[in-house]
Amino acid sequence: MSIAHASLSGEALALLGREQASRFLPWLTVCLGITLLLTGASLVVGTSDVHTSITWLMSPDAMSDTVLWHIRLPRAVGAWLAGALLGLGGAIAQSLFRNPLADPYLLGSASGAALGVTVSLLAVDASLSGFAWVGGVGVTAAAFIGACGAIALTVALSRGVLETASLLLAGIVVAFVLSAVTSLLLLRSPDTWRTMQTFLLGNTGFLDWRGAALLGAVLLCCFVPAIALSRGLDALMLGEDTAASLGLSLPGLRLMLLVLLSLATATTVGQVGLVGFVGLVAPHLVRQTLHVSQRQLLVAAPVCGGALLQAADLISRWAIQPAELPVGVVTACLGGCYLVLLLWRRTRNA
């Protein structure tokens, strides 16, 4: 319960605008229903045709068991969880930076992850003795470490978390410099570039139950503290000075939100690569359809992001069957279309 909803008389509840409270739950139910439908569809869409898949579902054997329950289902569940983490990260980033254009990769985590993967791939290829351990940790861990390292560098460059503007600027600097380093490394070893691209474009194909479990655990670890901090996010909506005057510790709040944001982004990047636009669009989509408090946004954005990435994953498998599109390309197309639509609607209204 937020402060506003707690122990109010009937009269006060009427003031609160019943519309706001009454539309949230149906919206959530519809979104979760879509998720269930998409999960069902994910089970029957794949390299085999739909007919075969349905037969598998009806009369299971060892083969169908492997394909349906150990390849397709973890992929669908994992895609939802990754999308949910991106949605949550996007909601946190947009509230923290009080900017509707903020996305989870804002603090250089994307470039950091790309550099981490490049270095790990190069280490495997070149068998550099000094870097052998880097190759040993695997691509997902390398991406995670790279993303965390980049965010740490951003925070260090902005000399802590005292100012939001300097954090943003430091994030831009880190992103550019790390991208330049990555490009330089790739120039020296063109073979790595292809493997690297598979990762950069985002890919849900590598998700297994272990990955899904990890994403689920991290989602829980980020979601619960984020909800606990939602009152602070509400206060931030009134401006940083006002929030500070209310008795909040801004540096503390910022630091905790940054940790949650980094954990969510780095884990997602490690599991599915750089999937763009979901983190940006999910909170937008929620705010377009509902007028929500920060707490409701923190619940709705992950649910929306999960459904979005699941849908994108489904399209990526179905569009050019039996081949697959990288899921990042699909999300970029969908997200781009949505933003253009938003832009047109806005200019028309203006």
């Binding site: 006060a12 009152r231 009134l238 006002t242 209310l246 909040l248």
Partner: protein, 280 residues
């Protein structure tokens, strides 16, 4: 209301001021905004800060609210150094209103409820006392009818009243208000002035507000007249007028007329009729 026989020109019988500062200096980079400002503000008084644009009114309020760290000088809230107060303890005693309220998706009620953050905390529930405080503050500012509306859908004046309700809901003993009457139409400006006066006189709150409108500022119990970066004078309205602080602070003659016991600022522009009469 003040008890009979006591006039507002006399000091109040309270031992410690609500908030005070001594030799306060604030600089942004090489630009010194406040230079050795010393003030003591008694409880139960509404004090208005007036002065020309850029003289440091907002900076003084922000520094007193603990949002700007001064280069030199000391600040005390209820006789204890401002920095020594734990954050939330301080927020329960001192509330600050920004010059502009940002539009957001929060509902007016949620915004006012945030004024109780220092009482409720991160995870606590709003108790009956909190809800009562919120309702009282919203009723006082006339913002109850839009409780469910989003801040972004309110007009500037409506939003300003919601923000004032947020500050009142904190039930702090010191209120620092930066232009609480901006965006408001004259009758509502008067309402706000009445609220501030009542808050000071009836609740014993220390109210300090920067106010642009000179006539409205002259309704306050006391005036702080700021020149550029320094206090020209701090005293009752009568003292301010007798010693001509306003003209000194603004660097130009300021004409104040008295009407029915109230002081009004009169623009020195000649009335149109007068101009026509002279030219005709």
């Amino acid at each position: 209301m003040p008890e009979a026989g006591r006039t507002l020109d006399q000091p109040l019988p309270f031992a410690t001021p609500g908030i005070s500062c001594r030799d306060l200096s604030v600089a942004f980079g090489s630009r010194r905004v406040l230079d050795r400002v010393s003030l003591e503000l008694a409880p139960g008084r509404w004090t208005a800060i007036v002065g020309p644009n850029g003289c440091g009114k907002s900076t003084l309020l922000r520094t007193m609210a603990g949002l700007v760290v001064p280069q030199a000088g000391s600040l005390e809230l209820h006789g204890r150094p401002l920095q020594a107060w734990p954050r939330r303890e301080r927020a329960r005693r001192l509330a600050w209103l920004a010059q502009n309220t940002l539009a957001s998706d929060l509902s007016a009620y949620e915004c006012v409820a945030l004024g109780r953050f220092a009482h409720i905390g991160w995870l606590g529930q709003a108790g009956p006392a909190d809800v009562a405080a919120i309702r009282r503050a919203m009723a006082a500012t006339g913002s109850l009818p839009w409780g469910g509306r989003r801040l972004s859908s309110l007009s500037g004046g409506e939003r300003q009243r919601v923000s004032l309700a947020r500050v009142l809901a904190a039930e702090a003993s010191v209120l620092l208000l930066d232009e609480p009457t901006t965006h408001l139409d004259p009758p509502h400006q008067e309402d706000i002035a009445r609220i501030l006066r009542r808050q000071a006189w009836e609740c014993g709150t220390t109210v300090l507000s920067a106010i642009h409108d000179l006539s409205l500022a002259l309704m306050a119990d006391r005036l702080i007249v700021l020149g550029v970066g320094a206090v020209v004078g701090h005293g009752t309205v009568r003292e301010a007028l007798a010693q001509n602080w306003l003209s000194v602070a603004f660097g130009t003659p300021v004409s104040i007329i008295s009407h029915d016991g109230a002081f009004l600022w009169r623009p020195r522009l000649e009335a149109q009729a007068e101009i026509r009469r002279q030219s005709g």
